[in-house]
Amino acid sequence: MRATLAFTIKEFQVLVRDPGGLFVLFLMPVMFMVVFSLALGGLFEEGAARGSARALEVPVAIGGAGEVAEQVVEQLDATQGLAMVREQNGQPLTAEKVAQLVADGEYPVGVVFPEGLTALLEDPRILRGEQVQPLEVAVIVDPATTAQVTGPLEGALSAVLQQVVGRRLGEAGAALWFEQVAVGLPAEVRERLAALMQQGGQGGGALPVTTRRQVPPGVEREQFPDQFQQNAAGYTVMGVFFIATVMIESIFVERRSGAMRRLRAAPVGRAPILISKLVPFYVVNLIQIAIMFAIARLAFGLDLGFVPALIVVSAALALVATGLGIALAGVARSETQGTGLAVIVVLTTSALGGVMVPRFIMPEAMQQIGNITPQAWAIQGYQDVLVRGQGLGGVWLEAGVLLIFAAVFTALGIWRFRFD
């Protein structure tokens, strides 16, 4: 126990005294995340600009949503870069038809207005300030489309909805106000109405209409990461695995060192040495993950969701990474071979696991192959939290699979570990 502590302290001291290698380890994933997020952010705007030349055609189903929906569609149609498609072959589009068109890949995105939208806004309960079940305007998205394509539509839609619905509520509130003023209402009701009018005028506050992304029925997946969610999760996962190169170097340097000769004469087994080659790097990984998410939060405003769930995924992920490091060190014949192998393995599995490009846009076969990489499970775990807003219950499967990876790698590493 004392020896294990001695080795672990020593390993930390060596790491702290020679932070060069670690610096790269910390910097690299941050750079990837920042550069790619900014690069995709650029694309995002560029996509909107390009839209002015060639408008994005969007099928829309108005159905029984009424006059409010008509107004929204009109305004969207007038928006630069958007062209709303209301009918096909002279027939107005239905909700089913819009879903069909998107599912068939004819349009990347469609809009379906809910039945009774206009009626809801005239519901007296709203004017009394009571809670009503909000209606959802569905944005039907092709999973193969990225945020760069759908972004401009979604942005415009929520802005126009706010404006149109807000103005409606304001007008309704004002009408009610003037009607009731003669009667003389209690101050409490007047205040509420005033607030309602103000809200309508500003177009802010909680509207009884929301938008929701969804895929056409029968197509899997519901929520898609934006570029920050994708890059924060992806490059955190990739960066964590590069600990393997640092571990391999540390293990080979230790083996080569004169100190090893003295240690072989000392009354210690290999367990303390082995543990000291795992624990400090595990801690480094956790710090690395914390830095990545802190930067994503502070610099990009990423919503971290339920943090304990992120921690559970991170704890399991870091175990896989240190396990991979010790396994590769055990397999490699030399330091150069080991670090080279680590870079190849990490980059390949990261690509397959959906670090650089989200897996949902990969061909089916590649998605299947990706399932055997720990990166895929880790990213899915993170995105369950970041994108899908899930808690602990949503990540236990991913964390469990990661623990299996960790157990297999670590067992292989311990079995092959030599210190001479």
Partner: protein
């Protein structure tokens, strides 16, 4: 040089070690007595480090056994290893760590902790004269200072047997004297038994109670330095001859009045000639050889020191 307790502390029996086809240690048996300074003198590649590695349980021999008292010394024998201190030939330190950090680490590895660890770290720093540099990184030390720290790390747990592998190689004279003094003090004041390997005969003569001369993995002679040197007699001349004429030459030279004995040297091309006075005998030897028309290929006069003892047994110089 040391107390007269002659009980055996470390015993090696029939120790062999092979690296592939190379036999680095060849059937070595020796006893190290409690309280003595035991030297292993041999040139580079003689097998000293390999033998030492086996003596302290770094690795298992191909054949043979080592005992510390009654306890077998093997790589897994923790209690035996706990009683042995090792100062490896190569600097066995973490360069990035300070002297104190290194010592604290090795102290903990040997089971020290708390106040005792702190006291021992300061004590050994004092022994090797590095107290004021203890907080500097080991990589900033001079070669001699690194050697001293290397020595200190072997002393932390107060071993009863200290094994030093060429502790003075590449060391400035000041550090070398410091190391000598430390070794002598440990042996005389603390009663630590010491095994000391070197390829410098002066060190073996100065420090060691007994010296084993090792070459090609074999102990070729083992005794006190004085006895080894006296075995040379008044002097030894080593001449190189044609192996086919060895018998004839031996006969002629043995008959000379100034020669006490003539016999085969370390190999068939060499003949050892012992004489009361090597210089006088040399003249007679050369005349006799000349008269018999026998060729003398090389001539060496062996001075009365361990270098000569080594030459006598191996036909080679320690400093090849």
């Amino acid at each position: 040089m040391s107390s007269a307790d002659n009980g055996t502390l470390l015993r090696a029996g029939g120790v062999m070690h092979r690296y592939g086809d190379l036999t680095a240690v060849n059937d070595v048996s020796l006893n190290v007595r409690r309280g003595e300074v035991f030297g292993l003198l041999g040139p580079n590649g003689a097998g000293k480090s390999t033998l030492i590695g086996i003596l302290c349980g770094m690795f298992a021999p191909t054949a043979g056994s080592v005992h510390l008292g009654d306890v077998p010394v093997t790589p897994g024998a923790r209690s035996a290893k706990q009683r042995i201190g090792v100062v490896p030939q190569d600097i066995a330190l973490y360069e990035k760590l300070s002297g104190r950090q290194n010592l604290r680490f090795f102290g903990r590895v040997y089971g020290l902790g708390g106040r005792r660890l702190r006291e021992r770290v300061e004590a050994v720093l004092d022994v090797v004269g590095l107290s004021d540099r203890g907080n500097d990184r080991a990589e900033t030390y001079s070669g001699g200072m690194q050697r001293r720290l290397n020595l200190a790390a072997g002393l932390l747990h107060e071993p009863e047997l200290l094994i030093l592998d060429e502790p003075t190689v590449g060391v400035d004279p000041q550090s070398r004297n410091h190391i000598f003094d430390s070794v002598e003090r440990l042996n005389q004041d603390k009663g630590v038994t010491i095994v000391y390997t070197t390829h410098y005969m002066e060190e073996a003569e100065r420090l060691c109670d007994r010296v084993g001369i090792i070459d090609h993995g074999k102990i070729v002679a083992l005794d006190t330095p004085r006895a080894l040197i006296e075995s040379l007699g008044g002097g030894v001349i080593q001449i190189g001859i044609d192996p086919g004429q060895a018998e004839q030459v031996t006969e002629i030279l043995a008959a000379l009045e100034s020669v006490q004995a003539a016999g085969p040297g370390p190999d068939e091309r060499l003949l050892n000639i012992e004489a009361e006075s090597a210089r006088h005998a040399l003249v007679d030897v050369m005349q006799a050889m000349n008269a018999a028309a026998l060729e003398v290929e090389t001539v060496r006069i062996l001075e009365p020191n361990l270098e000569s003892v080594f030459l006598r047994y191996t036909g080679r110089s320690l400093r090849d």
